[in-house]
């Protein structure tokens, strides 16, 4: 059994495996990247860089914070961090010990950011400014990550084989939904647009096009005595229940792997990236992929395998205290997915979007089959244009160009014409298709907007969704916006930030320490489970060396 080792009067003592310093409390965290979009009717919208800088200024003015060391944004009183990276605004939550906390701090951050964006619009004379959990850019090739971190005892690279099948299979429970990106003409629904930016089973890179892996081997520990598994194959999602399940199930699977159980022994996939995309392409969640064992496995089969193992070990002393409850919810969700997409249409982001898109397509008088046919046709025409020397450089893909009697693909257009009626298509619908495609992409983009204008939030207010987590209410989210979690180093960081901020000094923070410049004192937070503030004398980190901590 796990025992409690209260190191001080912490209200929720950290659980440790009896006779060891292995934590049964599982710390985890998240980073969410968001797109900033603005409109202005009178005059041009300022450059993104200028707007992001302004957003940072507003955050510094309005939030209790300490500057991050170097040029790393700010750390705020809830123990999290706000910063700009690669022209993307990011919120990294504080270290949390259970999925309830993870959801609370995610929602708290989103609430903070929505308010910052509104203030940005007000101060800069914009008609509108918003932050979007959009995952992908349908016009270009940009993508926004929703990364997770899990504290482990093992080096991440040793966990790759144990986790890759799960990370590929969790798309049916963790996907945001949307359309396949990186296509110039197609419009194909997917459970996860980010899946098409994941190109290799394992990678060092988290940003390079064609280099992102299902498993990220980076091991930036940000602590002493532990490792940090960084998960980059994930979408930004809105559903509270779905976020809860994503964090809980991944944490449990990481715990199984970290305990040396090799949970994926029979689940190794022949081609994990291909499997991820197969699973992501089927809203009924029945698609299968070939395992190295020779079996054809669905994503639910793979998840059930992990679930079974988790159930066998749910009372192990290295399992988190909330594991039994999470396992029941996980089981229930997998059973519910038997009837996907309708059975999960009010609780999982991808299924909610599927229904929203379906509604719009039907309202326009079309169906998924027609959309699929149009996708095939336009993809084919795009390939023809690319293969035509005189037209290969044309970026425009318009009905005028395609249907021009003297256009570059006129012969193909006339050859295809007799086959269109049998597919309920006609050339005159080309413009309609392209317009509908843009509308669907725009709906996806606007679905996850933070604040009251987001489509998800509007549907939630209308009372047609069933995604809330019992026990997480507005008051708790507001509290989490200004206060750190109850245990672990995030608690100490948040409390120190609140105390030092009042002095308005040049104090700084990062994940592993806080520096009190006035007294030249350093709070060492390299132990993620530290429960007591221990300060030691240090020089000014801004002048002493590059990395003072």
């Amino acid at each position: 059994m796990a025992i409690f080792k209260p190191r001080n009067s912490s209200p929720q003592p950290i659980r440790f495996v009896e006779g060891s310093d292995v934590p049964a409390t599982h710390l985890m965290g998240f980073e969410q990247e968001m797109a900033l979009c603005a409109t202005k009717s009178s005059g041009p919208v300022p450059d993104l860089e200028i707007l992001l800088k302004k957003l940072c200024e507003i955050a510094e003015e309005s939030l209790i914070h300490l500057r991050g060391f170097g040029d790393s944004g700010i750390f705020i009183a809830n123990g999290g961090r706000l910063y700009v990276d690669c022209l993307k605004y990011e919120y990294a939550g504080p270290e949390c010990s259970d999925p309830d906390e993870m959801v609370k701090y995610l929602l708290a951050g989103e609430r903070i950011l929505a308010a910052l964006a509104s203030e940005l619009a007000r101060r800069t004379g914009l008609d509108d400014a918003g932050l979007y959990r959009c995952n992908v850019d349908y016009v270009g090739s940009a993508t926004w990550g929703a990364h997770e971190s899990y504290l482990t005892r093992s080096e991440p690279s040793k966990l790759s084989a144990d986790l890759i099948p799960f990370l590929a299979a969790r798309v049916i429970t963790a996907g945001a939904g949307g359309f396949r990106p990186l296509t110039r003409t197609g419009c194909t629904f997917t459970l996860s647009p980010r899946a098409w930016h994941i190109c290799v089973p394992m990678s060092q890179s988290s940003t390079g096009a064609g280099e992102r892996g299902i498993f990220h081997v980076k091991d930036e520990t940000l602590s002493t005595g532990y490792h940090r598994l960084h998960v980059l194959v994930g979408d930004a999602i809105c559903s509270h229940a779905q976020n809860w399940l994503k964090f809980a199930t991944t944490s449990i699977v990481v715990a199984l792997a970290d305990a040396g159980l090799h949970p994926a022994r029979e689940m190794a996939l022949c081609d994990p990236v291909d499997a991820l995309r197969e699973f992501a392409s089927d809203p009924t969640c029945k698609a299968t992929a070939r395992a190295k064992s020779g079996r054809q496995l669905s994503a639910a089969d793979i998840q059930r395998h992990y679930l079974k193992l988790a159930r066998q070990h749910m009372h192990a002393d290295w399992m988190p205290a909330w594991a039994a409850m999470a396992i029941e919810k996980w089981d229930a969700m997998l059973r519910q997915l038997d009837g996907a997409p309708d059975s999960v249409a009010t609780c999982l982001d991808w299924a909610i979007k599927y229904r929203v898109f379906q509604s719009h397509i039907e309202k326009k008088g079309f169906d998924q089959k027609w959309l699929r046919n149009c996708t095939h046709l336009t993809d084919f025409l795009r390939c023809c244009l690319d293969a035509t020397p005189s037209a290969a450089s044309l970026s425009e893909f318009s009905p005028e160009l395609l249907l021009n009697p003297r256009g570059p693909v006129r012969k193909i257009v006339s050859q295809l014409a007799p086959f269109l009626p049998s597919r309920a298509m006609e050339w005159g619908q080309l413009e309609t298709y392209l317009k509908l495609r843009s509308e669907l992409f725009a709906l996806d983009f606007k679905f996850g907007r933070l604040g009251e204008k987001g489509i998800f939030n509007c549907l939630d207010r209308a009372g047609v969704l069933d995604h809330r987590v019992a026990g997480i209410d507005d008051a708790q989210i507001d509290y989490a916006a200004a206060h750190p979690p109850a245990l672990g180093r995030a608690k100490l960081r948040g409390e120190a930030i609140r105390r030092l901020h009042k002095k308005g000094s040049r104090d700084v923070s990062n994940w592993t320490s806080v520096f009190d410049s006035g007294n030249g004192m350093l709070l060492n937070l390299s132990d993620p489970f530290i429960a007591e503030e221990i300060w030691s004398k240090k020089g000014n980190p801004n002048t002493a060396c590059n990395f003072p901590f």
């Binding site: 979009c37 309708d342 709906l443 209308a462 995604h467 209410d473």
Partner: protein, 68 residues
């Protein structure tokens, strides 16, 4: 109005009473989907009738992001 999380409800049901496995469950699911679709229609209308047409919105959003 805050609703109970689907998962909490579902976890209290055994496999034989899974919503999608009974006719009553199926009609409940269909009713939920209809309510969602009705609400979605209104939101779609609002979302697509902003200052910018969908294509313009996507292009401007792309442009302001620097087209990475």
């Amino acid at each position: 109005m805050e609703t109970q999380m689907t998962l909490h409800r579902a976890s209290r049901q055994n496999a034989s009473t899974d919503p999608s496995s009974t006719s009553q469950g199926l009609s409940q699911i269909q009713a939920s989907c209809r309510r969602l679709a009705d609400a979605a229609d209104a939101e779609i209308e609002r979302a697509l009738n902003g200052d910018l047409q969908a294509e313009e919105f996507l292009a401007s959003a792309h442009q302001i992001r620097g087209g990475q």
